[in-house]
Amino acid sequence: MVVTLFPLFLIVFIVLLLIVRTWPILSAYPAKDLIFGMIWKPDNGKFGFWPFIMGTVWVTVVGVVLAVPPCLLVSLYLSEYAHSMTRSIAKPVLDLLAAIPPVVYGVWGLLAIVPFVEKGLAPISKRWLSAIPIFSVNQPTGFSILAGGIVLAVMIAPLVISVVYEILATVPNDLRHASLAVGATKWQTIRRIVIPQVMPGIVAGIVLGASRALGETIAVLMVVGNVAKVPTSIFDPAYPLPALIANNYGDMMSIPLYDAALMGAALVLLVVILIFNIISTLVLQRMLTRKQA
């Protein structure tokens, strides 16, 4: 009995411990200054997290925006159109994508995506899209939010696809047949009946993917540039919170309050991810068990 309490206990313990370790910096500076501060110079006691928070937000948003349309289409395809043979090819592909370690995604990002952004996408954007601020190319390298977003999109794809697929499977076939029987096409059936039935579940799946993207450290770190400035364009580099923690753990103990700052970064990540996870998992649990009855 006790053993099943362990997971819950672990979550609480992690949160508490991180709060305790962050406390020194929380009592030294007002939270407002920490969150919205723009300058990061730990040697001088300046701990402004805003560039890192924004870096995280930008990279995650780009990753999710890039991932969602194709993943939804793939899930719909697998659920509503594909033969079981196609599905049996898809499963190993998705499993393999999910199994590839983040550092290998980072290597791929470094070798394939960064050059692609630098030599392929940036020139196009410079030529055609320079009027739009978020597409403006302000630096010569491919180490950018866009590169990080592309890598993240591929990383979260297996998760989003399988969650949405499972959600779609809860729609009873009778409903699809009822629509098809009056002469609707499959897409009309999907659009009018299937998707509206499970919309909350689809959103929950996307949120789950976003929370995975938020926490991804190594792969993003290797391609995103690690420059601590608030980004203004997807071609800018950024410095997401996980990268901040990973890059600086070595200096943590030597500069006062640095360790508390990094623990604070971890805490912020944890809290946001917990909120996303709990809400989306509740929604998904309810949908999946209700329909399976």
Partner: protein
């Protein structure tokens, strides 16, 4: 040989001349679920504007056959269909045929009532919207009333058209599904054991609807109760293990079955 309580009904209906002009002609139809053959060389003509009953023991292929008539069978993964199904002389399986158009013209009433997750009004209007069949709201509202009346549901729901369809009883839901199917103006109505999930009163209701509709629609119904078959049939098809064993006008098949199997089935059921 009239050994049943249904004698008066049979006699009453048999005064009208039975018009056996074919509406649907099935030629050399074979169907497979993977490697298992579910339909073997089915050749049959289904008469126009009559009620055709397909009967037979469980697993004989009656539902499978029914689903080939509105191109529903191909929705199941791994099925293979060969042969021709001619409606008014045109093969619905021809390459250039639009299967959604086929399903519009050949309506299906399923065994389990499946109201769409919307209001009563929206259920009936659904098919009409899909095909853009009316021009304005007024026409749609009139059509909804018309089809709900035909299905015998209007009086019960006219004051709550915008309530969710799931708030209806199961018998009402099935009538709603009937109205929904009729709203797209099919020529043929298929029924896959349409009353087996219903209570006796609702069943009777649906049966009388179907008999009323006979004058305008060709109806093909799968049933597993011989009694229902006798109540409804003008034309009977008896199937066994994927083959059509015997077919013909109801009074011929029921009173004078030619085949041993048919005889056995008719006797076994009583």
């Amino acid at each position: 040989m009239d050994r049943d309580l249904n004698v008066p009904t049979l006699k009453a209906r048999s005064t009208a001349p039975l018009n056996m002009e074919p509406h649907i002609q099935v030629r050399n139809l074979n169907a497979f679920y993977g490697k298992v053959q579910a339909l073997k060389n089915v050749n049959i003509d289904i008469p126009r504007k009559q009620v055709t009953i397909i009967m037979g023991p469980s697993g004989c292929g009656k539902s499978t056959f029914l689903k080939t008539l509105n191109r529903f069978l191909e929705l199941t993964d791994g099925t293979k269909i060969s042969g021709e199904v001619l409606v008014d002389g045109y093969d619905i399986y021809a390459r250039e045929v639009d299967e959604t158009e086929v399903r519009k013209r050949v309506g299906l009433l399923a065994q389990q009532p499946s109201p769409l997750p919307m209001s009563i009004y929206e259920n009936v209007v659904y098919g009409m919207h899909i095909h853009g069949m009316k021009k304005n709201r007024k026409e749609y509202k009139a059509a909804v009333q018309h089809y709900l009346e035909i299905a015998g549901l209007w009086e019960e729901v006219k004051k709550r058209l915008h309530d969710p369809a799931t708030s209806l009883s199961i018998g009402q839901q099935q009538r709603l599904c009937l109205a929904r199917g009729l709203a797209v103006e099919p020529e043929i109505i298929l029924g896959d054991e349409p009353t087996s999930a219903l209570d006796p009163i609702s069943s009777q209701n649906i049966e009388s609807r179907l008999l009323d509709l006979k004058k305008d629609y060709t109806t093909v119904i799968v049933t597993h109760t011989l009694r229902q078959a006798k109540r409804l049939a003008d034309f009977v098809i008896y199937m066994y293990l994927g083959e059509v064993v015997e077919a013909g006008p109801a009074r011929d098949v029921f009173n004078n079955p030619q085949h041993e199997r048919t005889k056995a089935y008719l006797e076994g059921q009583i």
